[in-house]
Point group: C2
Chain length 349, copies 2
């Protein structure tokens, strides 16, 4: 079975400033190993990508170092509202953080949010980390300023239902859900400890069922929210005496997303065609991403194995889905005419 | 000069349960002394008016005891979502509290708010106490569920500007501002102590100027948010040893609202016609209030005096505007053919 080169619209490649966790080369290698040939990477780096200069430097580096297409979002910051017009002309999208998570960007209060929406003169989406009441805030801004918004990593029943209602009203809202929120629950968080800790946190069984209930309708994209941290940072390797009180939230996902979805398809939980909608058609439409000629992903949808079927390429070297039985193996990835992944190996590294 | 019988869309008459602060008779007497012949009273009483039964009992009592027309809003409560359909058929509007204030009603989280909007099947407005980020939430719900909402006591620059933007987009939002937020600042809060403490708190000079900047456009109504508490409760009379740590927030306003606005009109800050829009035309339209035949208010717009020009009728017996120089005196109120206020006296008490 063949898919076009897939798109992950939400990854953290940790560069600049967090290259001990991941860099453009290791992150894009993990992408290829996971069937992704286009990535949208997040701006909560060090420095954060809140100015055109910082964004330009990072984007140039991403293009030079990455093994697939990587587009960096800019991050909204109250201190750099004046950068938004030039950013709007250059970046694929703007990311706004309305809730606490890992990294330096965070927008608080209606006035800065209003200024951001007023100064983002573009049809390009504003992507938001917006949980709970912040989700309602985001939808309000979309409605008031007639702005395309994309809600990242929706994880709760009430949230996906509110988004469904907003879409039914014709508001300009799209959304993504992560595999970990589709395939894990808070029970797994207990089992996994820091390796099952991310933002938004894992939900209840009821949340997971609600998300699956919207898989063919409200949910536009599946995105990994690939957020690597080292096992040392997670307090599970190295000098265990020096464990930080709070391990940083986030789990990697680039290499497990497609196997998980292929497995679900093999079980009849969604169709292979819907996987293509969620990982290719909708992401490309929402973010107006360029075509990639002679680019595709070959999978053996019947092949069963224990994940991972290859040494992980993400620099952090672990996955919350290790030891999981999968049905559906990525056998080959062709990127712009070149075979870049085959038989468990990224060939371009 | 003559106005039609005026409408105060936001008062707390404290009945049931708080009759030591105010009751329907004293509150409606204060209304007449202030030029108001129709009141919309709030449901954060004891018990709160969250069920049809409790609302019906209170409304019946209001009709029996009041000297003018008093309509009680119902209060939204997570525990009584099932009451909303019958309430929607009977009450003038639903009040939702999204921020902490005085009283027992409070709605938290998007799911109960969503249920409230979904179950309020009516063009009658949902009135909201919604400051800051809660304001954005309220607007989101209005946009998603295509529901008329009315934002109570807007007090901040960012808030009135966001509402202006929402109205410009055509969203179904109306709003009110209180006289204390138009005529006092946080400097007065320092001076007045507990007698200048209410929710929302008094704003900065910049907030006040922003509100005045929208007096002829964004602001639909002036409402007193008449919220009487006794001087004992405010810690300023009685057993001063027994002062509660936190005096309850709220100030009375029924008797000072029209004098303050007449004074502002005498200074050219708004027109007398605009006063009629804010206290009569818009309130009646927003809440679909009935006409009152042979009902009017006579004022001597040139008469100067020190407020109050009559012993206060509100049971709490004080005003944050005491000793203020006013220009514009209420000389007579006729309610349904009867003179009910003249020469500083409510005649129907």
């Amino acid at each position: 079975m063949r898919f076009p080169g897939l798109v992950d619209v939400h990854v953290h490649l940790r560069s600049p400033g967090g290259e001990h966790k991941e860099n453009f080369r290791t992150g894009s290698a993990a992408a290829l190993a996971g069937g992704f040939t286009t990535l949208l990477a997040m701006p909560n780096t060090q420095p954060p990508l809140a100015t055109y200069k910082d964004w330009r430097i990072a984007q140039t580096r991403a293009q030079r170092e990455s093994l697939c297409d990587v587009f960096l979002m800019a991050g909204a910051s109250e201190e750099h509202i004046d950068e938004l017009p030039v950013l709007a002309q250059n970046v694929p999208a703007l990311k706004v953080y309305l809730n606490d998570t890992y990294g330096p960007l965070r927008v608080e209060g209606i006035e800065p949010l209003r200024q951001i929406f007023q100064n983002w003169i573009s049809n390009k989406p504003i992507a938001l980390h917006a949980e709970g009441e912040s989700l309602a805030q985001a939808i309000a801004m979309s409605a008031i300023y007639n702005q395309n918004i994309h809600i990242c990593h929706v994880a709760r029943k009430a949230e996906i239902e509110l988004i469904a209602d907003a879409k039914a009203r014709g508001l300009k809202v799209t959304c993504e859900v992560t595999p970990h929120h589709l395939f894990l629950t808070e029970a797994d968080a207990d089992r996994l400890g820091p390796l099952g800790d991310m933002r938004p946190r894992l939900g209840t069984q009821e949340d997971v069922e609600a998300l699956w209930g919207h898989i063919n309708t409200t949910i536009d994209c599946i995105a990994s929210d690939h957020a690597p941290h080292t096992l040392e940072e997670k307090g599970l390797a190295g000098n265990l005496e020096a464990i930080p009180i709070e391990a940083p939230p986030g789990v990697p996902g680039l290499e497990s997303t497609l196997p998980l979805l292929l497995t679900a398809a093999s079980e009849g939980r969604l169709t292979y065609g819907r996987i293509q909608d969620l990982l290719y058609t909708n992401p490309r439409r929402i973010y107006a991403l360029p075509e990639q000629p002679q680019t595709w992903v070959e999978v053996d949808e019947k092949s069963a194995y224990v994940f991972p079927d290859h040494p992980l390429y993400t620099k952090c070297g672990w996955s919350p889905f290790e030891s999981r039985r999968m049905t559906g193996r990525i056998t080959r990835v062709v990127f712009k005419g070149n075979t870049v992944y085959q038989d468990g190996k990224v060939l371009s590294v």
